[in-house]
Amino acid sequence: MIDKSAITQQYISYMLENGKKPVSIYAFSKILEISESEFYNFYSSFESIEKDIWNNLFVETVETLESDQTYQEYSSKDKLLAFYYMWVQKLRNNRSYIVAQKCQKSNSILFNNESLESFKNSFYKYLEQIIQEGVEKNEIKDRKFLTDKYAHGFWMQTLFILNYWIKDSSLNFEMTDAAIEKSVNLSFKLIADNALDSLVDFGKFIFQKTN
C-alpha cells in the first residue's frame, strides 16, 4: 500500500540519486508503481511534496519534544533551545537532501522559499504558544505592536540556524550547537524587559514634562 510517507521517501531518493526533480508526475508515478491519478490522492504537485518534507521534520521534532516530561517543565527559552537542538538532530537524517536543495536554489533557501511555507505556518503556531507562556511567566516583555512581530524574528533566527548548519563543517555540527545557544540567548535577552524599555519610559516622561 502506498502512502504519503512512502511517496516523500521515494521523492527524496530520486532527488538524491538524480540531482533533479522527476521530469513529470507521470514518470514519478511510474516509479512509485501507481497511476498518475492515484498520485493526486496524496499530492497535487512536487512542490507540495517538498513542503511536506519540511513540515514533517517540524512535526516530528515537536512530537518527540512533547512526549518528554522535562520539556513540559522548561521555560520558554529552554523550550525553544530544546526545539532547535532536536530539529537539527532530525535534519541530520536528511542532510544530503537539504544541502542539495540549497545548492539548487542558491541562496533562496534563506528567504521566501516556497517549500518552507507549511513549516513556517506550523512554526508560527508553535511559537505563539511559547511566546504567550513567556509573557505569562514574565520571561518575555509584552510590548504593544511589537509582540506580534516576535514570531517573525524567531523565524529569521530559524533560517539563520538552518543556513549555519548547512555551512557547518565542524565535527558533529558542534558549531551549530554553539550558534543555537548563543543566538537564542541573545534573542531572549532582546525580548525580555530590558534597558530599551526604561529608555522609552524615560523618553515618554521627559516628553510629557516638557509639554
Binding site: 522535562t70 522548561y74 527559552k77 529552554d78 533551545l81 530544546a82 537542538y85 532536536m86 538532530q89 565542524s170 565535527l171 558533529n172 558542534e174 558549531m175 550547537d177 554553539a178 543555537i180 545557544e181 548563543k182 543566538s183 537564542v184 540567548n185 541573545l186 531572549f188 535577552k189 525580555a192
Partner: protein
C-alpha cells in the same frame, strides 16, 4: 547559579568588547595623568585598579579561552600589580552556565541517551563552572559523580580569542611582541590540549594512579564508559575552596599538613614523572578539615623536556656560580641570554637573572621553608615591580626565557602562592638527582 543573560555572539562582537577595553584602558591612563597633574596623591595603584575593573568586566562577558587567559594572568600574580590580582582571582570560580537543553543535547550526541537514562539522578543546573566547561552533580549506584561538560565550539574559538587577548595581555605584563608570539604559541597549544577531553581523561587516570601513594591526597576515580569528547565523568569530591578553608581557621598543623601534601605532589611530578599539573590555581583543589586535599582537573599538563629540566634545576646548586662560563652556557640554553647579546646586555641581565633564580629557588636550598614569610613574598613582589620599571627591560625587544619556563614558572608561582596563603611550613629537602 544565575544564568548569564547573553554570551557575545560573534567574533565581531567579542572583538568589540576588547576594543572597548583597550579604549577604556587608554582613558584610564589619561585620567590618571590628568589627576596626577592636579593632585599629587593619586597613586599608580588607583590606575591599576581602574584598569583591572575594566578588563575584568570585559573578560567576564567572554567565555572559554579569554577566561582562561584571565586565569593565566592571575596565576602569574607575582608579575601583576596587586590590584589586577584580586580582580582576576574572581574569574577563577564562576563563569555562567549553559542551558539545560544543550547539556541534554551533548549527552544525546555522545551516548545516544539523555542524562536520566544513564544516571540515577542528574542535576541539570551546573554546580560549578570550569573555564571551558561546567560541572554537574549526578548519582549512580549510590555513588556521587561529577560530570564535566565542555562548551561546544571551544577549540574553534581559542585561536581567534587569543589573537584578540594578545594586545591587551602584551600591554598588561609588558612583554615585547616577539616574546608574546613565542609564549602565546605555547599557551595556544596548551589550551587546545585542554579541549581534548579524551587526552585529559587518559592523563587524569595516568597521573592520579602514579601519584596515589602520596600522603594526604585524594584523587577521583574516572569513568571512561561515561566519558566522551565533550564529557568527563569522575567521582564527586567534597571539600572546601581555599578561601572557605582558611575561613575555618585551620590549625598550624593542619595548614602544614596540607601544604606538605601539595609540595610533595608537585615535587614528585616535576622530579620523578617529569610532567606536571600546570594549573595550580586554588579552584583545582578542595581542602578538607582533616588536612587532606582533593585534586582533580588534569586538563593542563606540562611535559618537561629533559634538556630543559637539567638546565633549569642545575641552577639551584649555588656552587655552579663559581664557574661563570658554565652559568652563561645554561642561561643560553634557557634562552635567557642569547649568543648575539652584547657584553653590555650580558652585564645587565646576568645579575638580574641570578637574583631572580636565587629568589625562586630559595625553598629548594633549605630543609624546611616557611612559605608564610611575608618578607619572602614582599621581596619577590618588589623585585618584579622593579623589573617592570627598568628601562632596559622595557626597551629590550628580545625574548628572554624558554617557552617551557612559562608553564613551569607559572606552576611554581601558583604553588608558592597557595602555600603563602596557607602560611605553611614545608619540608622541602628533596634530593635532586640530575642525570
Amino acid at each position: 547559579m544565575k544564568d548569564q543573560e547573553s554570551i557575545p555572539t560573534s567574533k565581531l562582537e567579542r572583538t568589540a568588547h576588547f576594543v572597548s577595553t583597550g579604549v577604556k584602558i587608554g582613558g584610564n591612563y589619561v585620567k590618571h595623568y590628568t589627576q596626577r597633574l592636579l593632585n599629587q596623591d593619586v597613586t599608580k595603584e588607583d590606575l591599576h585598579k581602574d584598569n583591572a575593573d575594566d578588563i575584568y568586566e570585559t573578560l567576564s562577558h567572554l567565555k572559554g579561552s579569554a577566561l582562561k587567559v584571565a586565569q593565566m594572568l592571575s596565576m602569574d600574580r607575582g608579575l601583576l600589580p596587586k590590584s589586577y590580582q584580586d580582580k582576576f582571582q574572581l574569574s577563577q570560580y564562576s563563569a555562567p552556565p549553559l542551558s539545560g537543553p544543550l547539556v541534554t543535547n551533548t549527552f544525546i550526541k555522545s551516548f545516544g541517551k539523555i542524562p536520566s537514562q544513564i544516571f540515577d539522578s542528574f542535576e541539570i543546573v551546573a554546580s560549578n563552572a570550569a573555564s571551558i566547561g561546567q560541572v554537574h552533580k549526578a548519582t549512580k549506584n549510590g555513588k556521587k559523580l561529577a560530570i564535566k561538560i565542555q562548551y561546544p565550539g571551544v577549540a574553534n574559538s581559542i585561536t581567534s580569542d587569543l589573537r584578540m587577548v594578545k594586545p591587551i595581555a602584551v600591554r598588561l605584563v609588558g612583554l615585547s611582541t616577539r616574546d608574546a608570539d613565542k609564549y602565546f604559541e605555547e599557551v595556544e597549544t596548551k589550551l587546545l590540549e585542554e579541549t581534548d577531553y579524551q587526552l585529559e581523561l587518559r592523563r587524569s587516570i595516568e597521573l592520579s594512579t602514579a601519584c596515589k601513594h602520596i600522603e594526604n591526597l585524594h584523587f577521583p576515580t574516572y569513568y571512561p564508559e561515561f566519558s566522551s569528547n565533550r564529557i568527563i565523568t569522575m567521582d564527586w569530591l567534597d571539600g572546601m575552596h581555599m578561601v572557605d578553608f582558611l575561613a575555618t581557621n585551620p590549625s598550624k598543623e593542619t595548614r602544614n599538613k596540607v601544604g606538605q601534601a601539595l609540595w610533595d605532589f608537585y615535587d614528585f611530578q616535576v622530579h620523578t614523572l617529569k610532567q606536571v599539573h600546570a594549573d595550580p590555581h586554588p579552584g583545582n583543589f578542595l581542602f578538607k578539615e582533616d588536612g587532606t586535599v582533593n585534586i582533580f582537573d588534569f586538563g593542563c599538563i606540562k611535559v618537561i623536556p629533559q634538556d630543559f629540566y637539567k638546565a633549569y634545576f642545575t641552577l639551584i646548586d649555588q656552587s655552579i656560580y663559581k664557574d661563570e662560563a658554565k652559568v652563561k652556557q645554561i642561561y643560553e640554553e634557557l634562552e635567557m641570554i642569547h649568543a648575539e647579546d652584547s657584553q653590555k646586555e650580558i652585564d645587565f641581565f646576568f645579575p638580574l637573572f641570578k637574583k631572580m633564580i636565587d629568589m625562586l629557588t630559595l625553598p629548594f636550598t633549605v630543609n624546611e621553608f616557611d612559605f608564610g614569610d611575608d618578607s619572602y613574598f614582599g621581596g619577590i613582589y618588589q623585585f618584579t615591580e622593579d623589573l617592570s620599571n627598568m628601562k632596559e627591560i622595557k626597551e629590550s625587544k628580545k625574548a628572554r626565557g624558554s617557552r617551557h619556563s612559562l608553564y613551569i614558572n607559572r606552576t611554581y608561582y601558583g604553588l608558592y602562592h597557595i602555600l603563602f596563603d596557607l602560611k605553611s611550613v614545608v619540608q622541602t629537602s628533596k634530593k635532586l638527582e640530575l642525570v
